[in-house]
C-alpha cells in the first residue's frame, strides 16, 4: 500500500512538471498553430540560471531556493518573449517556417548551454528539508514533490484566472477558437501571441527549477527530454486546452510511474500506447475541440 501511495505522489509530482511545460505548449499551439520545439530550452535556461542564482545566495537556504524559482520563471519568460517577438513573429502565418525556426533555436540553445555549462549533468541540492521525506500512511514522500505540486496548482489557478478575468485572457480564449475573427473585430492579435509565449515561457522556466530538484540535476538536455513528454501530454489533453493539459499531465505521469514499477520499466511504452489509444478513439484529444 505504501508503495502505491509513493508512486502516486511521485507521479503527481512528475505530472506537475509535465503540466508546467505542456500548459504553454498547448496555449501556443491553440492560439498560433505553432508547435514550439524551443519550449524545452526555455525550461533548461530557467533551470541553469535558477541554479546559478541559488548558489550565489546559498543553495541550501530558503532565500536561495525562492530566488531561484523567481529567476527561473523570469528567464523563461524573457527568453520566450524575445523568441516570439523577434523570430516567430517575423514569420507570421508561415507555420512550417515557424516550426523549423523553433527547432533550429532549440539546437542552437542546447549547443550554447553545452558550451557554458558543459554536457554532463550537474548535480544540485536545495534546502535540507526538500531532500527529506514526509511520512504519509506509511509512505515516505520526498518533500520536493509537495512543493512541485503546489507550484503547478498555483500556476494552473493563475492562468485560469488570467484567461477568465482579463481582457487579454478573453482575447486569447477567443483567438484559440478563431484567430481571423478576433482580428476582424479590430484586435491586434500579435500582442496575444507575445503574451502566451511569455506566460508559457515563465511556466516552463519555473518548471525547470522544480524539475532540477525533482531529478536532482540540471543538464542542457533536461528541457528537451521533458518536451517530448509534454508534446504527448498536449496531444492527449487536446491541443489548445489548458484543462486537458492538466488532466493529461497527471494521467501520463501516473501511467509512467506505475508501469515502470509494476510492469518492468515499461513506462514509456505505456505512454505511447495511451497516446495511440487516444488518437484512435478521439483524435482531437480528451478536451480538444475539432480543429476548424
Amino acid at each position: 500500500m505504501s508503495t502505491v501511495i509513493l508512486l502516486f505522489a511521485t507521479g503527481l509530482g512528475l505530472g506537475a512538471i509535465y503540466f508546467l511545460v505542456a500548459s504553454g505548449l498547448s496555449l501556443i499551439y491553440g492560439l498560433m498553430g505553432v508547435l514550439n520545439f524551443a519550449h524545452g530550452v526555455f525550461l533548461s535556461l530557467g533551470a541553469f540560471l535558477g541554479w546559478e542564482v541559488a548558489q550565489m545566495i546559498g543553495s541550501n537556504t530558503w532565500a536561495g531556493f525562492a530566488t531561484s524559482l523567481v529567476v527561473g520563471a523570469l528567464a523563461g519568460a524573457v527568453f520566450a518573449a524575445v523568441t516570439e517577438r523577434f523570430i516567430v513573429q517575423r514569420l507570421y502565418n508561415r507555420h512550417i517556417e515557424q516550426v523549423l525556426v523553433t527547432v533550429g533555436l532549440a539546437l542552437a540553445a542546447v549547443a550554447l548551454f553545452d558550451g557554458i555549462w558543459g554536457t554532463d549533468p550537474e548535480f544540485i541540492r536545495g534546502p535540507q528539508w526538500l531532500a527529506q521525506t514526509t511520512n504519509i500512511a506509511g509512505a515516505s514522500i520526498p518533500n520536493d514533490v509537495f512543493v512541485t505540486i503546489s507550484a503547478a496548482l498555483a500556476v494552473l489557478l493563475s492562468i485560469v484566472l488570467f484567461l477568465k478575468k482579463t481582457r487579454f485572457g478573453m482575447v486569447i480564449r477567443a483567438g484559440v477558437e478563431n484567430r481571423s475573427m478576433v482580428m476582424a473585430l479590430g484586435i491586434d492579435v500579435r500582442t496575444a501571441f507575445t503574451l502566451v509565449f511569455t506566460i508559457g515561457g515563465a511556466a516552463a522556466g519555473l518548471g525547470g527549477v522544480l524539475a532540477s530538484h525533482y531529478f536532482g540535476y540540471v543538464s542542457p538536455l533536461l528541457g528537451q527530454t521533458l518536451l517530448l513528454y509534454a508534446f504527448i501530454v498536449t496531444v492527449i489533453g487536446g491541443l489548445g486546452s489548458l484543462l486537458g493539459a492538466a488532466i493529461a499531465s497527471v494521467l501520463v505521469a501516473l501511467m509512467q510511474q506505475f508501469a515502470n514499477f509494476y510492469l518492468d520499466g515499461t513506462g514509456d511504452f505505456a505512454v505511447v500506447v495511451l497516446l495511440a489509444l487516444v488518437l484512435l478513439t478521439k483524435p482531437s484529444g480528451l478536451l480538444g475541440r475539432r480543429q476548424v
Binding site: 477558437e177 478563431n178 475573427m181 478576433v182 484586435i187
Partner: protein
C-alpha cells in the same frame, strides 16, 4: 461585359466604400477575378450571384483576410497593405458567413471583445434590437440557436460606430420567423450605417436593399438598383438562376 442601370439610388449618393479591379487568392487559387463595386453612404447595397461566384471571398478580401490586389477605398482612404485589424478599426463591421461567434465565450463576452477603443459602445441599440441577448448574457454562445448566434454576430458589428457593415448571408439556414427578425434588424441598422449585404433570399433583398451588384465567375457583371434588378427576369435568370417573373413573388423562386 458589365450591364448597368440607373434606376436605383446607387449611382447618386457618394460612395463610402469603393472597390476597383479587385482580385483575390486563397492558397494560391484565384477566387475573385475582377470585382468593381461601390457602397453608397446610406442604405443597403446587395451583393448577389450564384453559389461560388466569389461573394464571400470579395468580403474577405475587403477585410484583408485573404491575399488581394486592386484598390479598396474606405471613406477616401486606400486600405492597401493594411492588416485586418486596422481595416476593422477604420470603421468596418464584419458579420461573416456562418456567424463565427466565439462558442466558448459567453454572449456578454462576445460583445465585450467586440468593443473597439476610441468610441461609444451602443449596448442600448443592441439590446433594444435583440432583447434575447440581454437575457442570455451569461450563456455560452456555442449553446445558442443559429438565429441567436446570428443576433450575436450582428450585435458585435452594431456595437461600435462603424462607417460600413459587411454582412454575409445573415439569413442562411434560419427559420422563416427568424428571417423576418433579422431582416427587421438589418433595416433598422441600415438607418444608422450603410450596409453591403450578401443575401440569397431575394425577398429580403427586395425588402431592404436599394442598390445591387451582381457577380458571376469572380467578376462584377451587373450594377444597378435592387428593385430594377428583381424586375428584370432575363438578368435574374441568367445570373441568379431564378426567374423572378417581374418581381411578382420572388419568395417562390428562392430555392
Amino acid at each position: 461585359m458589365t450591364t448597368h442601370d440607373d434606376q436605383g439610388s446607387t449611382a447618386h449618393s457618394p460612395a463610402i466604400l469603393t472597390v476597383a479591379g479587385l482580385s483575390a487568392h486563397i492558397n494560391g487559387q484565384q477566387v475573385v477575378e475582377q470585382v468593381d463595386l461601390e457602397v453608397p453612404a446610406t442604405g443597403v447595397t446587395a451583393l448577389l450571384g450564384r453559389n461560388g461566384v466569389g461573394k464571400t471571398s470579395t468580403i474577405k478580401a475587403i477585410m484583408g483576410l485573404i491575399e488581394r490586389s486592386g484598390t479598396v477605398t474606405l471613406a477616401g482612404q486606400e486600405t492597401e497593405g493594411l492588416p485586418t485589424y486596422k481595416v476593422a478599426r477604420l470603421g468596418v463591421g464584419y458579420v461573416p458567413e456562418d456567424r463565427e461567434v466565439f462558442a466558448g465565450l459567453t454572449v456578454a463576452e462576445n460583445l465585450k471583445i467586440a468593443e473597439r477603443a476610441g468610441g461609444g459602445h451602443h449596448y442600448d441599440l443592441v439590446y433594444d434590437l435583440f432583447p434575447e441577448l440581454y437575457e442570455r448574457a451569461d450563456q455560452a454562445a456555442g449553446t445558442l440557436s443559429g438565429g441567436q448566434q446570428q443576433m450575436v454576430a450582428l450585435a458585435r458589428a452594431l456595437l461600435n460606430d462603424n462607417k460600413v457593415l459587411l454582412v454575409d448571408e445573415p439569413t442562411k439556414g434560419l427559420a422563416p420567423r427568424l428571417v423576418s427578425d433579422v431582416t427587421a434588424a438589418l433595416a433598422k441598422a441600415a438607418e444608422l450605417v450603410p450596409v453591403l449585404l450578401v443575401e440569397q433570399n431575394l425577398t429580403v433583398v427586395r425588402d431592404v436593399a436599394q442598390g445591387a451588384v451582381v457577380l458571376s465567375g469572380g467578376r462584377t457583371v451587373h450594377t444597378g438598383g435592387a428593385l430594377a434588378l428583381l424586375r428584370d427576369p432575363e438578368t435574374t435568370q441568367r445570373y441568379l438562376g431564378v426567374s423572378t417573373g417581374g418581381a411578382a413573388n420572388p419568395k417562390e423562386a428562392d430555392a
